[in-house]
Symmetry: C2
Subunit: 276 residues, 2 copies
């Protein structure tokens, strides 16, 4: 049986629901997080909770007290669903007018990425839709997420795995559902939040792991030119981890295969993420 958690208790997944006039549905006033739970444990869960709280504050949504118990809730949901490796989705809505926010946690098997995505790498297409870095929503993971999915669907119809988004000033922002990194001259670089990059949990972890490993890593405004001249590139999010990016618009990035620094960093990331 598939379960979900909602507002303090577990319900059959089919039974979790929100009011049809919840502002989360009416206008997308709400937040979400996606992450992977291995044996009921989520790598850097506290950072996901922190980002959700920051987004809630930005949207004037009162974060419910039950958020404090999320690590236990995640574990119990994984057990109830019998999912040793789960992809989970946490949703916080603003609630009905003068009502209370609603917190929902869903789980499903973590099967999104075939293993050859890691060994052979993934491809991307540059989207025609721009990332609107002028909006405060570019910096929070809000329920206004359809642009991201539409550009990914467009990219997949064109034969690519993912889409890369430029911002309104034609700098690289991120991929449809992941942060973008390039490697050049041994340095690891990712677009700053001001350029429209979502402040990704995995993004920050990779920056820290790289620097701890003696690899210079930081933020920089990046252009398509920078990407085309890069030695390596990769994508990060909390469900997939690190995905080598080997071609963009049918043109190889570097040698067109996962690069050495990408592989080294990914090994460190997977080790950290799998640690008990």
């Amino acid at each position: 049986m598939t379960w979900a958690y909602q507002d303090g208790g577990f319900v059959p997944a089919d039974g979790a629901h929100v009011a049809a006039d919840d502002a989360g549905l009416l206008h997308g006033r709400g937040l979400f997080e996606t992450f992977r739970a291995r044996q009921g444990r989520v790598y850097l869960l506290e950072r996901h909770i922190g980002r959700l709280r920051a987004g809630a504050a930005a949207l004037d949504i009162e974060a419910p007290a039950e958020l404090d118990r999320l690590p236990t809730t995640v574990q119990e949901l994984a057990e109830r669903c019998e999912l040793p490796d789960a992809r989970m989705r946490l949703t916080l809505t603003a609630g009905r007018q003068a009502g209370r926010p609603s917190l929902v946690l869903h789980a499903r098997p973590a099967t999104d990425y075939p293993s050859d995505a890691y060994t052979s790498g993934v491809t991307a297409a540059i989207a025609t839709t721009r990332r609107n870095e002028t909006s405060p929503l570019a910096r929070i993971k809000s329920l206004n997420y359809l642009d991201n999915l539409l550009v990914r669907e467009e990219a997949r119809r064109a034969g690519a795995d993912d889409a890369l988004l430029l911002n309104t000033r034609s700098s690289l922002a991120e991929s449809a559902t992941a942060n973008l990194f390039i490697v050049g001259g041994g340095d690891v670089l990712t677009p700053p939040v001001e350029d429209g990059a979502l402040p990704g949990v995995t993004r920050s972890a990779v920056l820290e792991l790289a620097n701890a490993a003696g690899i210079r890593a930081g933020e920089a405004t990046l252009t398509i030119d920078d990407l085309q001249r890069a030695d390596e590139a990769f994508l990060t999010n909390a469900v997939a981890g690190m995905l080598p990016l080997v071609a963009v618009d049918r043109r190889n990035v570097g040698a067109g295969e996962p690069g050495e620094i990408t592989r080294r960093l990914r090994a460190r990331y997977e080790e950290a993420a799998a640690a008990p």
Copy 2:
């Protein structure tokens, strides 16, 4: 008692709900329409339905057959709620994965605009958030609507009634929740959809009513300069109708009061909208 309509039947408004994993909530994959129902009748309802259908097609959502009965549904909801003048909100979600879309209609009293908004006009502030005209969502009324509400809230904190949005190329697009028109040299002009204007039902009606009245009216790319040089300006949406716009960023538009062409057009619009 307050009622709502959901998926074929009437329910107490508190009881209308959607699945917590409906794509409409998860990612804002869905559409909405807002309109005013006077004595259970909506001016140009068929155009609202048409726009909803077009948006559903763009998002690959199957429009439910019950949409055909919407005029009757609107009338019955107004009667059940005892609302001779109602503001209604129609929501169509994409549904759960492999599931069916959900159609919900809510009603509340039409009390959003004080009458002096029409006699004295309203004010606006230019938002720092840009309208992303590069996104397909700029042309459909999707559930990704939070940017619009956030810029309006920001404008209201600054003492204005509404916000005007520039697009990524610094042309005027629309207001937070209405289309923008300017009047200059006797001509009535509104930004084209390609500039980020939502294809408003009231917008198209006003263009037609103006031309029928011998006033030249059409689309044109407009800048802040054009607005500052305009003789008059006004905003349109299906709930408020036509609202004179008399100041932007604390600077008068024209004489700083509702203009003659705005008043003439509004009289024609109200006459048409109130016709049985």
